[in-house]
């Protein structure tokens, strides 16, 4: 079950490619959210390339594992992964956020691979809970994954969902918290403190894991662990770096919601090993 070093290297390379696409698409779009897209890239890459059961040729396959991006503003990362996987043509990425485009500024259901719209924060864990309840009703073994932001969990709706998922013993539900420590207005600790995190989730009845969200082996191992947990949902609290992979974006709050300029794009390409 553990990944060998060759597979880990493959995933890391893929994540680098995804980061390149994120910067490229945001630079072309001229708006969007690079910080959280780059912090969640390794998690999404691991999920789609090494964890989830899915078929890009058949996005509505009933037995597919579900993924729901609760922090919808980080869709550039998801779009890049979905395009690489073949859910839609890669050309679509370069039309992100444009009038008449397939890829909306926040996830929309007509995009192949998107299950339910998101963008208004705080609702996604509930949506994922609904999917996991449906799986149990239908006696299906698919799992549901949901990516949350750290600022996002300031929304009360998240905790309603957390309470309910534990109540319904939703062990087929796995949330991932992209814990990059920043939100639009600044550091999470300064805007609205959310710690102690693992204790909060555990007190709500969840199995909580804390990992380095940029260590591919650790990410993969956490998902494997989550699969074995019975009678309770799991949250993987993934410590990440906002803007990860592009030095001048790392931990810079301005890049939560600002696209790179042409020069910044060129510099980022160099750093990411694209000439």
């Amino acid at each position: 079950m553990l990944l060998d070093s060759r597979k880990i290297k493959e995933l890391e390379d893929k994540a680098r490619e995804i980061r390149v696409m994120i910067v490229q698409m945001l630079a072309r779009a001229g708006s969007g959210h690079p910080g959280g897209s780059l912090s969640s890239t390794d998690i999404l890459t691991c999920l789609y390339y090494a964890v989830m059961r899915h078929n890009p040729k058949d996005p509505s396959w009933p037995d597919r594992d579900r993924f729901h991006l609760s922090k919808g503003h980080c869709c550039p990362a998801l779009y890049a992964v979905l395009a690489e996987q073949g859910y839609f043509a890669k050309d679509e990425l370069w039309k992100l956020r444009r009038f008449g485009c397939l890829l909306q500024g926040h996830p929309e259901r007509h995009t192949p691979g998107i299950e339910v719209c998101s963008g208004s924060l705080g609702q996604g864990l509930s949506v994922a809970l609904g999917m996991s309840l449906a799986a149990k009703l239908d006696r299906k073994d698919y799992r549901t994954y949901c990516l949350l932001g750290d600022g996002e969990i300031q929304e009360g709706n998240v905790w309603e969902a957390a309470m309910a998922a534990a109540h319904y013993k939703s062990d087929n539900l796995c949330a991932i918290l992209d814990y990059n420590g920043f939100q639009i207005d600044g550091r999470v600790t300064e805007v609205m403190a959310i710690e102690p995190l693992a204790e909060k989730w555990r007190s709500f009845g969840w199995y909580a894991l804390e990992i380095d969200g940029h260590n591919m082996a650790a990410i993969h191992k956490a998902f494997a662990t989550a699969k074995k947990i019975r009678e309770k949902p799991t949250i993987i609290i993934a410590k990440t770096i906002k803007g990860k992979g592009v030095s001048f974006m790392e931990n810079v709050v301005d890049f939560h919601g600002r696209a790179p300029s042409r020069d910044e794009h060129d510099l980022a390409m160099k750093e990411l090993g694209e000439s």
């Binding site: 208004s120 609702q123 999917m131």
Partner: protein
């Protein structure tokens, strides 16, 4: 006399027997909304989310995305107000098959007072794209509306009352998106939904004694609105009195006014709650205080024709 919510609960059981795809959600009001009837027979397909309407709505979206036909119920106040963002952004934007059946709408909630008397729910639900809004007038129409919602893909908001209501005599069967002509008339048209349909019929009978010929239209589907029946009435009568147990802002009267003023201008008088909160009291006292009675309709019709 029937409770609409009794009929709703029984209809859910009927649908539950018909298909295993029907799932019902509630937020700690299953006794009042009568979803408990479904819960008793289909425990595994019933989810009580506790006092957490936002979670209930978004989780309903998740269930619906996996092929379930989801009926989600709570009081109208909380179904529309507390969870509006979830209803808009998660259910309606995704066009998911969630049927919100909200009970205890309007002033006739009675003693619980203003905090529980939803008077703005039609307005805020009909403003959302993809949403269909239905206000049945009595018990039998409630069943027909719930069945229609079940058979029609996409999000619905069905508004029910708390109190027992008389069943309307000789009511044409509910057809989604259609108004129903209850009575022909050539002087004035009364358009009503919910409990106000009964009041409109009483008013029409009284007005007939004064040789005023009154057309009465039951308008259970607020959205999409039946433009045809309104256009015909605009041509054949001198004006409209629109009656609803809701704010005069944004509800049935607004919908009728929007449609008519654009294409078939006609005088309109609105019977509804006028920019006020409700209060505690019994139904009769409240309907009188907020001018939602047969007498108010009669006065309005007379002034319109004067």
């Amino acid at each position: 006399m029937l409770y609409q919510r009794d009929v709703y609960g029984k209809t859910l059981v009927e649908l539950g027997r018909r298909t295993a795809d029907v799932v019902v959600c509630d937020a700690d009001l299953s006794g009042s909304t009568r979803t408990a009837l479904f819960a008793r027979e289909f425990a595994s397909r019933f989810f009580n989310f506790g006092v957490a309407e936002q979670n209930m709505m978004a989780a309903s979206a998740g269930l619906a995305s996996c092929g379930k036909v989801v009926f989600a119920s709570t009081f109208a106040m909380f179904a529309s107000g507390r969870a509006w963002d979830q209803v808009r952004n998660t259910i309606c934007y995704s066009g998911l098959n969630v049927k919100i059946v909200a009970t205890h709408a309007g002033i006739t909630v009675g003693p619980d007072g203003a905090s529980h008397q939803a008077l703005e729910d039609i307005a805020i639900m009909r403003a959302i794209p993809n949403m269909t809004v239905v206000v049945p007038c009595d018990g039998p129409e409630t069943r027909e509306a719930v069945l229609a919602a079940f058979e029609t893909p996409g999000p619905f908001y069905i508004r029910l009352g708390r109190a027992k209501v008389p069943s309307i005599d000789k009511r044409p069967e509910f057809r989604l998106g259609k108004g129903a002509l209850l009575q022909e008339g050539s002087d004035v048209t009364l358009v009503a939904c919910g409990i106000m349909v009964q009041e409109a019929l009483k008013a029409a009978a009284e007005l007939a004694k004064n040789k005023i010929s009154v057309r009465v239209i039951n308008m259970p589907t607020i959205k999409p609105l039946d433009e045809h029946i309104l256009a015909e009435a605009a041509r054949q009568t001198k004006g409209f009195v629109v009656c609803e147990e809701h704010s005069v802002t944004g509800g049935l009267a607004s919908a009728v006014a929007e449609t008519l003023s654009e294409k078939h201008p006609a005088p309109i008088v609105r019977i509804g709650v006028k920019n006020r909160f409700g209060q505690s009291g019994d139904e009769t006292a409240l309907l009188t205080e907020y001018q939602l009675t047969c007498a108010d309709i009669i006065r309005s019709a007379q002034s319109l024709l004067a």
